[in-house]
């Protein structure tokens, strides 16, 4: 008796476990091959994919015996990382079938991310599937599940606004700069202060194509280090004002105790600029730029509170969109469930086809033995007719079987009836409950 497969998932994430524990169960890329081989080597597990990011370590697997297999996944996590299972146990979540499917879809859609709707997870899901495919532990079911998760993740981000808008101070600054300038490629950026915030902002600016960077800092070496990282030019702190005339974007995050850019100081610079917009982001506390600068023509000044406001607005928008994405997840989970159910009757369909094809061949052989006067062309014609007839006779029942399986699951009652009707042997018996998915 052949048992039918179930999808199971087990793991921990930023909601269930603290970072100290998450970093202990994270899988390094070099460990993945061994880990995947280890998982599929455990009893009842036939396929496996490991999704490991900074916020989650999850295992997805196919099994014919969900209960022991789920337990095996939990013990694998503890064994592989050399942890006490009792310590890990309270933080590990486990899902079977519909729960596991929905969970992966939510992860891919960004609903389960720390930053709602973030897009990086989609690449990580793709990478997880590629890793398992490379080792050969992702079979047809997990491959289909992950492909659907990837498609859903893309759809969620294109059909809804779940992935729209900046979620950090630095990306909000760059977002605002884009609303001012459009394309940022070719813009000149002056960075005052060489701290982490400056660096983060420069990373986002570089992603937008900014190549001309000037960094000023009180400690010249730090300015030089940051400028080198982004292919820019380092200058002495006292010289930064001389570059205000040519810069398009100024990012200021120095640790100065007083304003270093004042309205009076900027007025002569603005005359030189002849109305060219100057975008200033002041992410320093206390502020580097005098508030009166915002009143000057063609100068757009944003401080840390403005940028926080932008992030808050986007967060609220994403939260509103989460509802729409949840509907997408639900619909896709139902579709995949139906696909999986339909797949459960594949052995029955194969058996049905084999049985009829064998009968067809048998009758052909018997008939052709009697029809000795046929030419080779006529024999071929008769063979083709018989085979076409068999395929056509089977088409209706096979489609009906798949539809029935998608609707009701491969229940023992009706598959048994099909077997009796078509005179099949007492072959594979489904173990799915009809309402499992």
């Amino acid at each position: 008796m052949t048992e039918l497969p179930h999808i199971i998932a087990a793991g921990l994430n930023h909601r269930s476990a603290p970072v100290e524990l998450r970093e202990q169960v994270a899988f390094r890329p070099t460990e993945l091959e061994d880990a995947l081989t280890d998982v599929v080597g455990r009893p009842h597990i036939s396929e496996a994919v490991i999704l490991s990011t900074c916020n989650r370590s999850e295992l997805y697997a196919m099994t014919t015996r969900p209960e022991p297999a789920v337990a095996a996944l939990g013990s694998f996590l503890a064994d592989f990382h050399g942890l006490d299972p009792a310590e890990l146990e309270p933080h590990v979540y486990r899902q079977v079938d519909a729960g596991a499917i929905r969970h992966l879809f939510e992860v891919a859609a960004g609903l389960d991310s720390m930053v709602l709707g973030e897009g990086q997870i989609l690449a990580q899901v793709k990478q997880a599937l590629a890793g398992a495919a490379g080792v050969g532990t992702a079979g047809a079911c997990l491959n289909e599940l992950f492909q659907r998760a990837l498609r859903l993740g893309k759809q969620a981000r294109t059909d809804t606004e779940i992935g729209r808008g900046a979620m950090s101070i630095s990306s909000a600054a760059v977002d605002l700069a884009r609303t001012t300038f459009g394309e940022l490629a070719g813009r000149e950026v002056l960075v005052v202060g060489a701290g982490e915030m400056s660096r983060q902002t420069l990373i986002h600016l570089r992603d937008q194509g900014v190549r001309s960077v000037i960094v000023a800092n009180r400690t010249y070496d730090h300015a030089h280090e940051l400028a080198t990282e982004f292919g820019g030019q380092a200058i002495r702190f006292d010289d930064f004002a001389a570059h205000l005339g040519s810069a398009d974007i100024v990012v200021s995050s120095s640790a100065a105790p007083h304003a270093i850019i004042t309205a009076d100081g900027l007025r002569p610079v603005l005359a030189e600029r002849r109305g060219r917009p100057l975008f200033i982001v002041d992410i320093a506390v206390p502020r580097d730029v005098e508030a009166a600068v915002a009143e000057l023509d063609d100068v757009y000044l944003f401080d840390i509170d403005d940028l926080n406001g932008v992030c808050d607005r986007y967060r609220a928008e994403r939260a509103r969109e989460a509802q729409a994405v949840a509907h997408l997840v639900e619909a896709e989970a139902v579709r995949f469930g139906a696909w999986l159910q339909a797949r459960a009757v594949t052995p029955l369909v194969t058996e049905l086809r084999e049985r009829h094809e064998a009968l067809c061949e048998q009758e052909l052989e018997r008939g052709l033995r009697r029809l000795t006067d046929l030419t080779p062309a006529q024999r071929q014609q008769v063979e083709r007719m018989m085979r076409d007839y068999t395929h056509k006779v089977l088409h209706g029942p096979v489609t009906g079987l798949r539809e029935l399986a998608a609707e009701r699951g491969a229940g023992r009652d009706w598959t048994g009836l099909v077997r009796r009707l078509f005179g099949l042997r007492n072959g594979p018996q489904p173990i799915h409950g009809e309402d499992e998915l």
């Binding site: 605002l176 884009r178 609303t179 001012t180 300038f181 459009g182 394309e183 002849r274 109305g275 060219r276 917009p277 915002a294 023509d297 063609d298 757009y300 944003f302 403005d306 406001g309 932008v310 607005r313």
Partner: protein, 268 residues
Amino acid sequence: MTRLCVLAESAALVSLLLAALLYVLRFHRPELQGRLTWGRWGLAIGSALLAVGLVSHGTRGNGPLGDFANVSFVFALLLALALWWADRRAARPALAATLAPLTFLVALAGLLGSSRTLPELHGSLWLNAHILLALTAYACFAVALAAAISYLVADQLLKRKHLERLPHLPPLETSDRLGRRAVLIGWCLFTVGLLIGALTVYTWGAGFDPKIPPALATWTTYTVYLVLRHLHRWRGRRLQWLLVLGFALVGLTFALGHSPEQLQRRFF
């Protein structure tokens, strides 16, 4: 034929009014954008009906530019074309929200304004060319106006930190670039149109036309804009006000052209 013409023009006005309302609504309620694509249909249907009206006028012997109603309709059609172009260039609802109401107003002026014919115009290739070039230039200046308004609105939103509406406006630089290009094209056409008009008037020996001073002021304003923008590399908010002033003068010139008294003085 006259009934068909009135019917087509009235339906065109209704259609353009609806299009204008939908485009303005699309700007103010961006979340409805998907449901408001009917604005494009309204504009297309309105333009088609205007074209029917134009053809009807033409077959009555006035020619496509044979009376001032037709001149307005041609201008409205050019504005609709400019709207379509600007919408494609900047893909933001703000530009269309300016140009669509303008298109409706110009078409309305055509229907309510003088319907006197211009017999001398019929057959005068040069005067037809003068009017067509001026109207095309006006359509370009209208795009520049829409870009300038977008710039000024975006500038105020950025200054007042009302950032939620910003994504529905083109970036400042895009508006600036669109305005500059539209003025450059419009200025070239307007200059050629003015030269042709001046030569035609000189050849006919016509007297003083009150439309000439605002037309020259319009040309001067846009010339100053181009000099400042291209030769002196000026940018920014103040330069956008020059585009608003320029189009105010365009409006004045066009309104003077619609005055029946002016028509009588000039042609009869």
